[in-house]
């Protein structure tokens, strides 16, 4: 098992380098650089100043040289500074000689996105598992049909449209929830309880809407897993020996039906840290999705590469953890790994 783990972790290094190389070249395939921004079309600006900027950031050198320079910094885990945001560090914050702390861009955005997405995932699972189980037990009956209908309505409604509608209904027509942002303007004057309440009310819509629209696929997974399991021999055996229906379903069937969920959660890790441009834009949340989108449109290469590298490292790590969790949960897998 340990040998397997070490092997997997060592393999991650060449994979990461490969990913970064491909990302770097694809990024440079798009025309334009940091100087092709809105100021590029202001007649008061000059081409000389743009050229000066290109030279400073080595953008005038061949792509392969630029990649080498980037890799050299990465070896020291130096993610560099943003071209656009006034030399802000890409990943972690830095403190200058006068003790002024400048927060890193990813350091700022990642916790927000992670919090929203983890909460969303928890709510999705909390709803999807019971709904999926019920669907399987009442297969083809009205309960199953209405759950499926509800799920697919949620799945088909465009998230941004539902968001705007709910923002209007809950924030404008009724003054029940804040419309956008993460904090109230007088947040800093609130007491601790007030701060928690304020943040929670700001989070309701950004968390709930993706969980509703994401409900369908997980419910379906649980339902199908459950349907498979419910027809297995050991369930028939359990029923035959006179166990209560409750015990059959929740103790014997559900555990096995939930195994594929581990894979699904493992696969959802890139989404957890990636964030969503559309929802973050609508709700004015300064998260990873918008950071990445803005970095791409302004050709802020260090930020783009920083997010891709951290994202892929976390994804590989997530896959590894999912595999280990699978082995932990399923003895069959464990034996397979030990043999291999």
């Amino acid at each position: 098992m340990l040998k397997y783990l070490i092997k997997r972790i060592l393999w991650m290094v060449p994979i990461l380098i490969g990913i970064s190389l491909i990302s770097f070249f694809i990024m440079h395939l798009a025309p334009g650089d940091i100087t092709s921004n809105e100021a590029a079309f202001n007649p008061e600006t000059s081409e000389e100043s743009r050229q000066k900027l290109r030279e400073l950031y080595n953008l005038d050198k061949p792509v392969i040289v630029q990649y080498g320079l980037w890799l050299k910094r990465m070896v020291k885990l130096d993610f560099g500074h943003s071209f656009k945001s006034h030399q802000k560090p890409v990943f972690l914050g830095t403190t200058d000689k006068d003790g002024n702390y400048t927060k890193g861009l990813i350091e700022q955005a990642l916790p927000i996105t992670l919090m929203i997405n983890l909460l969303g995932l928890a709510i999705t699972l909390l709803l999807a598992i019971p709904l999926g189980v019920l669907s399987a037990r009442k297969y083809q009956q009205w309960q199953d049909k209405s759950i499926t209908l509800f799920n697919f309505i949620g799945f088909s409604i465009p998230g941004f449209w539902l968001s705007l509608l709910l923002m209007y209904w809950l924030g404008v027509v009724n003054d029940w929830l804040p419309i956008s942002g993460l904090h109230n303007l007088n947040y800093e004057h609130l007491d601790t309880w007030g701060k928690i309440k304020d943040t929670a009310s700001h989070l309701v819509l950004p968390v709930l809407i993706p969980s509703i629209t994401g409900l369908a696929s997980i419910t379906l997974f649980v339902k199908n897993g459950m349907l498979d399991v419910l027809h297995q021999d050991y369930i028939t055996t359990a029923r035959a020996k006179g166990l209560t229906e409750h015990k059959v379903v929740y103790t014997h069937a559900l555990r096995n039906a939930l195994l594929p969920l581990i894979t699904i959660i493992g696969l959802s890790i890139p989404g957890l840290i990636g964030g969503s441009v559309i929802s973050e834009t609508i709700f004015a949340i300064d998260g990873m999705g918008k950071l990445f989108f803005d970095a791409v449109t302004s050709r802020d290469f260090p930020v783009v590469m920083g997010i891709l590298t951290i994202g892929s490292a976390l994804t590989l790590l997530g896959n590894l953890i999912a595999d280990i969790a699978y082995a932990w949960a399923d003895p069959r897998v464990r034996r397979g790994v030990a043999r291999g």
Partner: protein
């Protein structure tokens, strides 16, 4: 297990219809009107200091030193924090800001600014001509990466002989100089000396001299400004200005409807359809309309055939119905222009009239240029080649819609048009800088200074320069050179009237429209100049005030 026991059928049987009901009621109520607010905002109150005004912007400033950040979000904030030597008054004429007055030497090469007495930075330190000299040295420094340096590099010698005098000498008379000194925000020497302008923390914690000073900047959330009691132009009335960062315009509008923000720029649909249709909104919002600062045009690649032929350019100009674009795209909220200057200002030549919509004239001009539909397929040909081209524009809804309207009108006279909309950075690098386009739809600013040397002079055609349409007209070149060295405003005006006339006659671009700037401001903000002065609605925002009765529970004031 607690969640799982939820499944037991009785409870779910009750909840499911409930969820359905909830969803249905949600959809229904969402379409109804918001409740009327109880507060009556129609009363006028006397001027009072205090209160908080909240607005929103779609992007976050990259930093608060404008000479190096250079984006419009930064300038919106720094314009409230820093002063320049000069500024424009309500009628868009230059007046002193930090400068009491200025004089131009006999040989027209030296400008002497006399500063107002007793100027102070917000931290109480005196603001003198040495700060101005320092700012000039900073922007022209080799190590400073300012996109706006070129105007200031023309200064041969800058001096601060006394704390109240600042003189600049140019190698030759440079008329746009005054405008450039109205745009350079003066920075404090005592806080920035010896710092690296690109990494200094000053960009996030600036100290200026204008009406407001930075209080608090929450990354990605809001920027809070507070009144500067030492403001060199006298203190403003409103105590706090908060700018929230809300990237989505629809979300901004919802915040405006809910009364959480006090002002925002509108698009024509919200201005002329959405708000007028809602009495509750009309009751609490004032709408303002001003001539915008830019115009949209259709620009030809003059280096490509057949656009090198003035008859072809004129024909296309006659074939496009500009009023139709203004009505269709801007819902009538724009005007037709005939020169690249704000109508009504001194630089705009009042004798010029835009090309009228005249398809017959267009057809005859094309015929003159040798085009005819020889194979009868409805498309004109020249030497057997059909007249077809591509309009490229960036992803901007208004420009895309204009392109579609133009496409239809040109088809009527036998020209086939394809449209391509491209993301901005790709558009600039792939099409504009390489000169690889037939026709573009883009916009230029209606500059306050008439000098447009960078856009129209034939020497400005290298990649990355702004005469990318490739315009070359010796007469225009001469006028632009003359206009740059003529300091007398009246003689300068005559030069630019001639320039605009020549430009209209030559038709290197088709002026499509100049859209209005549309703003909604909550009625609790009083003292807003109406009618809006030429300089725009926000021009005298330091005179705005919020009566005590209309101050909401926004930010507790300390």
């Amino acid at each position: 297990m607690t969640t799982l026991s939820l499944l037991n059928t009785p409870s779910i049987k009750k909840t499911l219809p409930l969820i359905g009901l909830l969803l249905a009621s949600l959809l229904l109520t969402a379409c109804s009107n918001p409740q009327n607010e109880a507060v009556d905002y129609s009363q006028q109150f006397p001027v009072a200091d205090g209160g908080t005004m909240v607005d929103a912007m779609i992007g976050e400033p990259t930093g608060l030193i404008f000479m190096v950040s250079g984006d419009s979000a930064s300038s919106a904030i720094t314009a409230k924090i820093f002063n320049s030597l000069l500024t424009y008054n309500g009628d868009l004429d230059l007046k002193g800001e930090l400068a009491e007055n200025w004089s131009i030497s006999q040989d027209q090469k030296t400008i002497t600014f006399t500063l107002k007495k007793n100027l102070k930075w917000a931290d109480g330190k005196p603001l003198t001509s040495h700060d101005v000299l320092f700012t000039w040295q900073l922007i022209t420094n080799e190590a400073t990466r300012s996109p706006y340096a070129s105007d200031f590099q023309l200064v041969k010698k800058a001096e601060a002989p006394t704390p109240l005098t600042f003189t600049v000498t140019y190698a030759q008379a440079y008329a746009p100089a005054l405008d450039s000194w109205a745009s350079l925000q003066i920075l404090p020497e005592h806080l920035l000396k010896g710092q690296d302008i690109h990494t200094t923390v000053f960009a996030r914690k600036p100290i200026g001299s204008h009406h407001y000073q930075l209080d608090d900047w929450q990354q990605g959330e809001h920027i809070k400004l507070s009144r500067n009691p030492l403001a060199v132009l006298g203190p403003a009335h409103i105590e706090h200005l908060v700018t929230r960062i809300i990237p989505d315009k629809s979300a901004q509008f919802l915040e405006l409807m809910a009364g959480h923000i006090d002002s925002m720029g509108l698009d024509p649909i919200k201005y002329s359809r959405v708000i007028p249709a809602r009495p509750a909104l009309k009751k609490k919002l004032n709408l303002y309309k001003e001539l915008g600062n830019s115009y949209t045009y259709l620009g030809f690649n003059l280096k490509r055939k057949p656009f090198d032929d003035v008859r072809v350019r004129k024909a296309i100009n006659y074939a496009i119905d500009k009023q139709e674009i203004i009505d269709g795209v801007y819902l009538g909220l724009g005007i037709n222009i005939a020169s690249p200057y704000k109508p009504g200002t001194r630089w705009s030549n009042p004798t010029l009239t835009p090309y009228a919509y005249n398809p017959e004239k267009a057809r005859s001009l094309l015929k003159e240029a040798g085009f005819s539909d020889s194979d009868g397929d409805g498309v004109l040909e020249l030497n057997g080649k059909p007249f077809a081209f591509e309009i490229v524009t960036n992803q901007n809804k208004e420009r895309e819609k204009s392109a579609v309207i133009i496409q239809r009108r040109l088809k009527e006279i036998g020209i086939e048009v394809r449209i391509r909309a491209i993301e901005w950075a790709s558009f600039i690098s792939r099409f504009i800088n390489t000169g690889d386009f037939d026709v573009v739809i883009l916009g230029w600013g209606l500059g306050l200074d008439p000098d447009q040397y960078n856009i129209w002079h034939s020497s400005q055609q290298a990649p990355g320069q702004f005469n990318f349409v490739g315009y070359h007209n010796p007469k225009v070149d001469e006028l632009l050179e003359k206009g740059r060295t003529e300091m007398n405003p009246d003689r300068r005006m005559a030069i630019y009237h001639d320039f605009a006339k020549e430009l209209l006659e030559d038709s290197p671009i088709v002026y499509l429209s100049a859209g209005y700037g549309l703003t909604a401001i909550h009625k609790r903000i009083q003292g807003v100049a109406d009618p809006v002065p030429a300089a725009g609605v926000g021009y005298d925002s330091h005179r705005w005030y919020i009566p005590q009765r209309y101050r909401q529970n926004q930010i507790s004031e300390h």
